[in-house]
């Protein structure tokens, strides 16, 4: 069987970007079509990569390695294992649906798709890179396009939200960069290659005192991306004001880059420091879960509820990272995927509702299920998924995390379970206020998504969510093959 070439996952959207550049801006439908194709093809490729990945053999596969900056040991090194092949799939699904729902954008369509494609390219590149430099490089490529997209196509407080989000994320990235550079220099190998660094540091770990100050820099730096309490404040406002596609991509995929980086660069390369610091992070994680959950309870703005909910659920990922066992780490990766799909779905639906009703305030909404049965049903399912109801991916993931943490953090686990109850309360409240009850006459004329094509992105995401909820083994086999080796190496 022919094995997939990972570079095409980056190059195809880049090619699409080039084509969109060439199309005059008065041909919006052509631009949209090119843009759709250029996120659809990498999605198909990621599916292929996922299917072709041999989870029995494990390790990094489909590797490409081209020396890039020789004196500093930087190489263009791509490869996938069970973790990032899954994240590619997540990005593929989320970006494809994000471009599909972007049909509602009516202004400056060319710029919109150029920026959206740049964001997608950067994220693909970050997930594919096995070189720390290129991970950082691609990770930062997405920063400025996201700023511009929020600032141009966002809602009321868009400029504030865009600036806040970008500055927080850049601050985190810059902190992490200092940590990564220190790590590179301390390892003394003269290479940014993750595989080589892993091999070297597993044999000869860095001195404890060095690990102990580099580790927090990287974890807090990327933790900001992952909305680690108390550095999460950029997220609710950012997601609320951003255009729907960006909320979907950012809450769904981009912030997972933080968790991915913490697994790969912090925990795996500095296991001793991880054992020292992660218990503190576990406490912060539970604060994340409970505090952000309680804040979400008080919100009346639909998007803010989702924003805080997303911050709250990142707590489970952080808690799982602190477990150091296979079950917990499986839960983390599972949750990255399931939450990503769920968040993309929820923000897409909310975006649709807000576009139609021109309000996000739950006090004004109500009874929408009557006029938008399809959207309403999807939203209810997303809410159930988020609250951890069995049958959806999130349930499996959260159970895994809680099982993983039970032995080490008993009280924290109890509090974390409380978080699930809180989630259920605020999401059911949102469903009740927004979609049930009497329908306001203002909204009586509104209709559901008219065509099947427009329903497709929601159906796709929901189907994935149910699939991984009912057949966990589909993705657990992949995840397991990689998490096992990681956990063995950090024990």
């Amino acid at each position: 069987m022919m094995s997939p070439n990972l570079s095409w996952i980056i190059l195809l959207p880049l090619l699409g970007l080039g084509f969109v550049c060439l199309v005059p801006s008065d041909k919006p439908s052509l631009i949209r079509r090119i843009s759709t194709v250029s996120v659809f093809l990498p999605f198909i490729l990621s599916l292929w990569v996922y299917a072709a990945y041999d989870h029995v053999a494990g390790g990094f596969q489909f590797v490409q390695n081209i020396p890039w900056v020789v004196p500093l040991g930087i190489s263009y090194h791509l490869g996938v294992d069970g973790i990032n092949s899954l994240l590619l799939l997540l990005l593929g699904a989320a970006s494809f649906s994000a471009v599909l729902i972007s049909a509602s954008i009516k202004e400056r369509i060319k710029e919109y798709h150029l920026l959206l494609l740049t964001t997608v390219i950067g994220t693909y590149g970050a997930f594919l890179s096995l070189d720390i430099f290129f991970f950082y490089f691609f990770h930062e490529v997405a920063a400025v396009p996201v700023f511009l997209m929020i600032a141009i196509w966002g809602s009321e407080r868009r400029e504030f939200a865009a600036m806040k989000l970008t500055l927080f994320l850049t601050a985190g990235a810059a902190l992490a960069l200092v940590g990564l550079l220190a790590l590179y220099l301390a390892a003394g190998l003269g290479t940014f290659d993750l595989v080589q660094l892993q091999a070297q540091l597993a044999e000869h770990p860095l001195p404890m005192e060095v690990q102990n100050w580099i580790f927090p820099l990287i974890v807090v730096g990327f933790g900001i991306t992952l909305t680690l309490w108390p550095f999460y404040t950029w997220a609710p406002v950012g997601y609320a004001e951003a255009p729907t596609a960006i909320s979907m991509l950012h809450a769904g995929v981009l912030k997972k880059m933080g968790a991915y980086a913490i697994i790969r660069f912090a925990i795996q390369l500095m296991p001793q420091a991880a054992h020292h610091w992660m218990p503190f992070i576990a406490v912060l994680a539970v604060v994340n879960i409970v505090y952000c959950g309680l804040v979400a309870l008080t919100q009346r703005d639909l998007k803010y509820i989702l924003g805080y909910s997303s911050c709250s659920h990142m707590g489970y990922i952080l808690l799982g990272l602190a477990c150091f066992n296979v079950i917990g780490l499986n839960g983390v990766v599972y949750l990255m995927f399931a939450h990503g799909i769920m968040a993309a779905l929820a923000f897409a639906l909310t975006g649709f509702v807000c576009d139609q009703t021109k309000t996000r305030n739950l006090d004004e909404l109500g009874g929408l299920l009557k006029c938008m049965p399809f959207i309403g049903t999807c939203f209810m399912m997303a809410a159930l998924a988020s609250a951890g109801v069995p049958g959806f991916g999130n349930f499996v993931a959260e159970i895994l995390v809680l099982l993983g943490s039970w032995d080490q953090y008993r009280w924290l686990t109890v509090l974390a379970v409380l978080g699930l109850v809180i989630t259920a309360i605020y999401l059911m409240k949102a469903v009740r206020l927004g979609f049930q009850g009497p329908l306001d006459t203002r909204f009586a004329h509104l209709t559901d998504t008219p065509t099947l094509v427009e329903k497709f992105p929601y159906v796709l995401l929901l189907a994935l969510l149910i699939l991984v909820g009912c057949l966990p083994s589909v993705i657990l086999m992949h995840i397991d093959s990689s998490t096992k080796t990681i956990v063995e190496s950090i024990r």
């Binding site: 890039w68 900056v69 020789v70 004196p71 500093l72 930087i74 710029e111 430099f133 950082y136 490089f137 691609f138 930062e140 490529v141 920063a143 400025v144 700023f147 511009l148 600032a151 141009i152 400029e159 865009a162 600036m163 970008t166 500055l167 850049t170 601050a171 810059a174 902190l175 960069l177 200092v178 550079l181 220190a182 590179y184 220099l185």
Partner: protein
């Protein structure tokens, strides 16, 4: 004794002098109101051929004039930077001074003189030659800064630059005389030998501080940065571009020559001082830049901040630090020239340099808007643009030499700078335009803008060859202590 001089070593300087003199003659012979801008066109042709010529001279190496003049890989690299900068500055000047008439050709001659000064600076291996070279550069800059005779700001800028520049020259000479007192020489190699055998004493320290003050003036390091904002704002924009790219690079090649070469043996003594200066310079530059309303002033303060980042490399005092400085200057060249090209085209069309007037630029000229966006994002050090990798290497150099605190301060500064760069980007891309007239961009300006865009992206993505060039420049450096 009649010294034997290898003339090929000073071929570039000789060619520039010949061109300069012959352009003077051509200028005199040409009728007063010649229809065409002959000097400008000739200058452009000469410059491009000089660049081609210089590409073939990469292997030049040696000393001339009793060791006063050195031609090494570092000099080659910087002279290349200066030549490329000058191509852009000449084109900018042609555009900017369209209305200036006959005084234009004199401006071109001054630019050639400045180029001669910069090239000599790059090759000085003796404090006296260095002084003369700096003066050739600076004096032509004084005149050019005050070139807009009827513009109050330009006169004020020229005056300020003259007074502070004269002071800096005084410092330089004063420091050199102390150094001569201690070492009985102005030759770099003699002084370096002295540094190797002697510890730093109060007299040499005093001399070094004075000399650093003069370099700091050129390189716009705090606390010698006072002139920057006013001069950047008041000077004709091509001159501002030259100041921010060429003159700053000239400051940094002196810094590299002195602190990585001549005073290299005393590295431990001055390294911490440079690190502190670096931290103060970048922080002050960025904090003040946040509050600027004039784009040239903002870029002035941002240029101070960039001097701070560059000083990180000097504080590191390592191979990586020096190559980082070279790479950074290379990326900075395309980035800053792109920004100033946009400013020139914009200010000619709109008669304004206020940031507020840039509102909605994207609706008036998408090329200008896009170039400015790339320039700003590259200045902020975001990948995949040229500014990123420079900051990356400098941060790495700082951490490698044990200045992690400095790297952290730089990280904070990157965030601060991103704020004000993005504010301008926001004005350009988000705010509604005040006027809707389309800004015309002439074909030659379009070409230059395209070159800078390609430069910013290529240097940002294919860093390898450029880093190699920056590194080999340092490796072959005369008197290198690395």
């Amino acid at each position: 004794m009649f010294p034997i001089i290898d003339w090929s070593l000073i071929s570039l300087e000789v060619l520039i002098s010949i061109i300069l003199v012959s352009l003077v003659v051509v200028d005199i012979l040409l009728p007063k109101h010649a229809g065409k801008d002959w000097i400008g066109i000739l200058s452009f042709v000469f410059l491009v051929s000089l660049i081609v010529f210089w590409l073939t001279q990469r292997d030049l190496n040696g000393l001339a004039f009793n060791g006063m003049f050195v031609m090494d890989s570092l000099a080659w690299f910087f002279k290349m930077l200066f030549l490329v900068t000058m191509v852009f500055v000449f084109a900018m000047a042609r555009e900017f001074f369209k209305t200036l008439g006959e005084r234009k050709s004199e401006f071109y001659l001054l630019l050639w003189l400045a180029l001669l000064g910069m090239c000599l600076v790059a090759s000085s291996a003796d404090f006296l030659l260095m002084f003369i070279a700096i003066e050739i550069l600076t004096i032509s800059l004084y005149v050019m800064t005050a070139y807009l005779k009827s513009d109050k700001l330009s006169i004020e800028a020229g005056m300020k630059y003259l007074i502070l520049g004269a002071l800096a020259s005084g410092f330089f000479l004063y420091g050199t005389s102390f150094l001569y007192g201690a070492t009985h020489s102005t030759h770099f190699n003699v002084i370096q030998a002295f540094c190797q055998t002697h510890a730093m004493d109060p007299m040499t320290l005093f001399a070094m501080v004075l000399i650093f003050a003069a370099i700091g003036f050129k390189a716009t390091a705090v606390p010698f940065h006072m002139w920057v904002a006013d001069v950047y704002q008041g000077a004709p924009t091509p001159v501002t571009a030259l100041l921010s790219v060429g003159s700053k690079a000239a400051g940094f090649i002196i810094l590299i020559r002195l602190f990585f070469g001549v005073f290299g043996p005393w590295h431990v003594d001055w390294s911490l001082a440079l690190a502190i200066l670096s931290a103060v310079t970048m922080t002050l530059g960025n904090l003040v830049a946040m509050f600027q309303t004039n784009i040239k002033r903002m870029l002035g303060y941002s240029s101070i901040a960039h001097a701070g980042y560059l000083l990180m490399g000097a504080a590191a005092g390592s191979m990586l630090g020096a190559s980082g400085i070279n790479f950074y200057l290379l990326g900075y060249l395309f980035t800053n020239l792109a920004a100033f090209l946009v400013i020139i085209v914009f200010s000619i069309a709109c008669k304004s340099d206020e940031i507020a007037d840039y509102a909605g630029l994207v609706k008036r000229s998408s090329l200008l808007a896009f170039t400015m966006l790339l320039a700003l994002v590259s200045l902020a050090g975001m990948p995949p643009l040229a500014g990123f990798f420079g900051k990356f290497t400098l941060l790495m150099a700082a951490i490698q030499s044990g200045y992690t605190w400095l790297a952290l301060i730089a990280a904070v500064n990157i965030v601060i700078s991103l704020y004000y760069y993005l504010m301008v980007a926001k004005r350009i891309y988000v705010d509604p335009p005040r006027v809707l007239t389309v800004i015309p961009v002439a074909a030659n300006m379009q070409l230059l803008l395209a070159i800078t865009i390609v430069g910013i992206i290529i240097v940002g993505i294919f860093q390898g060859p450029f880093l190699d060039a920056a590194m080999s420049a340092v490796k072959g450096m005369y008197l290198s202590r690395l």
